[in-house]
Symmetry: C2
Subunit: 240 residues, 2 copies
DNA sequence: CGAAAAATTAGAACATGTTCCAATCTTTGG
DNA sequence: CCAAAGATTGGAACATGTTCTAATTTTTCG
């Protein structure tokens, strides 16, 4: 009888109905993105599919971006799969997390490309940033820990510190996702391009002890990138 | 009598009038962006200001993004100022070009933020990519040369090669511009954040000979970033 | 000059994200 | 069970980028 979905449903009849509507909207958004593919989903279509009025969608989410963001958070069972990663050396773990993270995207590129295209929309109502607060906090904490551990285990120098490294990694990620979403970075280069960027950034702060594994990842990604070179006309890296 | 504006005006009366309209549109777009600031310019307002119909704007440019891109290319006398850079050691030159490039943005942040917000719009009609072909070719050639020279002068290892390094630098740039345009990266961190990312990437491939100057830039940028830390609530680096 | 070609024009049209409103349920609490 | 509070609803409204069409203006060229 009790709703097992969602976190801590407030179990008033009113709140419960609200939660159901919320979930229905997220599910409909997911399905619509899957079906329409390239075409972005429209709030009107979304509302109709979810059996809900447009106004309700806005009451519950506030913006289209918030809906899409919820779809993203809903789809990726990130934390669970992250917990299962074997805790090898810190460097290997960093790239494992990276590959895990991007495996979602490359496994279902049409879906996630549309999704990210929506999320990266700079024109949309900007209340929610690029990521919801909680999601941001979680992912940032994970990555900060990964880097801090690598420093503690003498794989990375303490020099610039995890915070600044994280900022650089985040920008590589953002640039790559932007390029991917706009079509200038093909899917087959996505993971390698980001991985190469990561490894290059980390190499800059590698200790003697940490260098070999980073170098290995770097070489592997570089190899993939060279094997999947872009045709001369297709611009891959856009320099501004 | 002869129009000295533009490149190789085709000097037919028809082409000349077209060119004048084109320039008027670009100028109006520039002014409107300057005046409205945060609000994106609308094609209807732009057309009215330029004394031209909306249809004409689309005939001449094809899309709003193309107009804004033209404004960007028009504003930055990049090549001229680039030519004046003293040719010191290759590494110093790389960071000089970087600072020159971003000095436009930080000197007039409101203007360029609005502009980039428009350019990075993932929803807009996608005919023109993120950069026009010619502009892209020019900038990419400049940066490729910078990196290739650094390799030839034994500042960077030949290992991953200029092409891959350029791809990483471009992604750092794209991520930073995205963050800046969406407001998650404050202007006072912009140049340093990108510079730090560049230096970190380049450090990963530095030779013994090139390392010191890259390290110097790296330390300087890191210092700026630490001095301009973000308040705890404001997210600076978004990790996805 | 005068006909043909080329371009611009006003305006409607379409789909979009978002907001607003009065009317209408639905749940809650007494 | 009933009044009050809370939420949803349909629909209109607004501003946006973009496309289209029919009419008009402007340039070209013989």
């Amino acid at each position: 009888m009790a709703a097992s979905i969602g976190v801590a449903a407030e179990s008033g009849r009113r709140e419960q109905a609200k939660e159901e509507r919320r979930l229905r909207i997220i599910a409909s958004a997911r399905d619509l993105i899957r079906e329409t593919g390239e075409t972005d989903l429209s709030m009107r279509a979304l509302a109709e599919r979810a059996g809900v009025s447009v106004a309700t969608a806005y009451n519950l989410f506030g913006s289209k971006r918030a809906v899409v963001l919820s779809v993203l958070e809903d789809e990726r069972d990130y934390l669970e799969r992250f917990a299962k990663l074997d805790p090898g050396d810190p460097i290997a773990r960093i790239f494992s997390v990276h590959e895990l993270s991007f495996s979602y995207y490359t496994a279902d590129p049409d879906f996630y490309r549309t999704l990210w295209r929506s999320l990266l929309n700079t024109s949309q109502s900007d209340e929610t940033g690029l990521a919801s607060i909680e999601r941001l906090a979680r992912t940032q904490a994970i990555w900060f820990d990964l880097l801090a551990t690598a420093v503690k285990d003498d794989c990375l120098r303490a020099d610039p510190g995890p915070a600044l490294l994280l900022e650089s990694l985040a920008q590589v990620t953002g640039g790559a996702l932007l390029g991917w979403a706009t079509g200038s970075l093909p899917t087959r280069r996505l993971t390698a391009s980001v991985g190469f960027g990561y490894s290059q950034v980390l190499l800059g702060s590698a200790t003697e002890h940490g260098r070999p594994s980073i170098q290995a990842a770097n070489a592997a990604y570089a190899h993939v990138l060279r094997d999947n070179g872009v045709a001369p006309g297709l611009r891959s890296a856009e320099m501004f």
